[in-house]
Symmetry: C2
Subunit: 280 residues, 2 copies
């Protein structure tokens, strides 16, 4: 029986592409309309796994998903780093000269400014999302001649990729976390994600990072999170590199003594395609 993986978005979304890459082509993907619905699908048993975007190289960390993870109902068991390759997608037979209007989600359109600047005769039209634009295009219900979306969206709906890589920044990526209801530390886990709150004292972060530095342990991410409404509390996101049962586990135990609050979101095997991170 194949594992059911919940994603936010519809058939052909970048999340769908990430799910196929991470879980394999036999993954039974459960499509949900919102992140809340995604977490509910996992908690309620409609799926055994869920895949959420957690950061993007242009738009930063997705705090709202960190917030949902902090609540503790889901555990990180894997990750995937997906290059965001936007494609200009048309009905089969349409050529570039036939394209007057291109529809997509505003964030995708904003990632393709150079394409529109170099094609001044082509107008950008806002749509609710990327893959959905391709679906509507093929159904004859899109007020445009083309859409911008993933190559997978073209494949899923029988459309054609007229031009691949129309995004301005070819190094753009989105990092996804794979979630399960229970913590599940695979052998080979070499990365741990945690959220941490420190007392409001100068030097508190320096002391906290000392537990890693003294053991030669690297971080692949550190980020402070403003907590509006809680003026004397501060949260940090950390990704720590190393086997959680070794020196890294000792460092986390020591860190518990320094932190006001510490939640391990999960330990998992780092993605092979990895955005580089900082040294601790």
């Amino acid at each position: 029986v194949s594992v059911r993986v919940a994603i936010q978005g519809e058939r052909g979304a970048f999340s769908h592409q990430a799910a196929l890459a991470l879980v394999g082509p036999d993954a039974a993907v459960v499509f949900t309309p919102s992140f809340d619905a995604l977490f509910e699908a996992l908690a309620g048993g409609a799926a055994e796994r869920a895949l959420v975007p957690i950061e993007n190289s242009l738009h930063g960390s997705i705090h709202e998903n960190y917030d949902r993870l902090k609540q503790g109902a889901a555990h990180v068991v894997g990750e995937h780093v997906l290059p965001v390759r936007q494609c200009l997608i048309v009905r089969p037979g349409t050529g570039l000269a036939d394209v007057g209007r291109v529809a997509s989600h505003p964030v995708a359109l904003a990632q393709c400014r150079r394409f529109f600047a170099t094609h001044p005769g082509i107008e950008a039209v806002v749509a609710a999302d990327t893959a959905g634009s391709v679906r509507l295009l093929m159904a004859g219900e899109l007020p445009a001649d083309a859409a911008i979306a993933s190559a997978l969206a073209a494949r899923e709906y029988g459309a054609s990729v007229l031009q691949a890589g129309v995004e301005d920044d070819p190094r753009s990526f989105t990092r996804f976390l794979l979630l399960a209801r229970e913590p599940l530390v695979e052998s080979g886990a070499d990365k741990t994600s945690l959220v941490l709150t420190l007392p409001d004292r100068p030097g508190a972060l320096h002391r906290a990072l000392g537990v890693f530095a003294s053991r030669g342990i690297d971080l692949s991410k550190i980020e402070s999170r403003p907590l509006p409404g809680r003026p004397f509390e501060y949260a940090f996101y950390l990704d720590v590199i190393g086997d959680p049962r070794g020196a890294c586990g000792e460092a986390l135990a020591e860190l518990r003594g320094l932190a006001s609050e510490l939640r391990v979101l999960g330990s998992y095997r780092a993605a092979r395609e990895q955005p580089p991170g900082p040294a601790a």
Copy 2:
């Protein structure tokens, strides 16, 4: 003569609201269609100041604007923290019972999920942006009966706020940076923003933060930035609290010796309404 401030967006945008709050009601606001156009307006002399969003409490840091700042053509001279208060906006005389469709930018619609969940008879419709939806509503060109945007947008276009605070999270805010062509350190500057690259060595970050911890200096932000395509280099964003001419300046001088690269984006007076940050 009033200072000209470039913003990204149109009349009534949240950036417009932030510009009026920061520079005063006499600010001559220059509206630009994209962040690239915004930076060009500043560099080319169409405006003396520019105001860019740099982070949002739900959606994280806006890396693309950090990237533009890193290029060094603009200097941070101020900041503003704007609570994001979304309003349901109608033509004067329209009541809630008359509202069947509500249009806005997809990000704004996503911030108001609870409103739509509790009003199942009301349909969300995607539009290119928030304030522009109000303009189209008043021009009779919006395929909806209401828009979601700032209260300022309602005022600018002569529309009515039917319900204020329709966003799910009332503590949501966006932080803006005020930019000038030249560095301009006001007396009273007590915050410095910098971007920093460290050598790939365990403990490098711990050592770097030591220059602040040893002087009792607080950080209000720290964030690591993956640098795809540059596998052994790492960037950090730091906001440091303190007079840049005092101990904070000494710490930065010491930090220059540890960093592969260090760019001071600017020193400025911290916003009074401040999202709390971490202790160094």
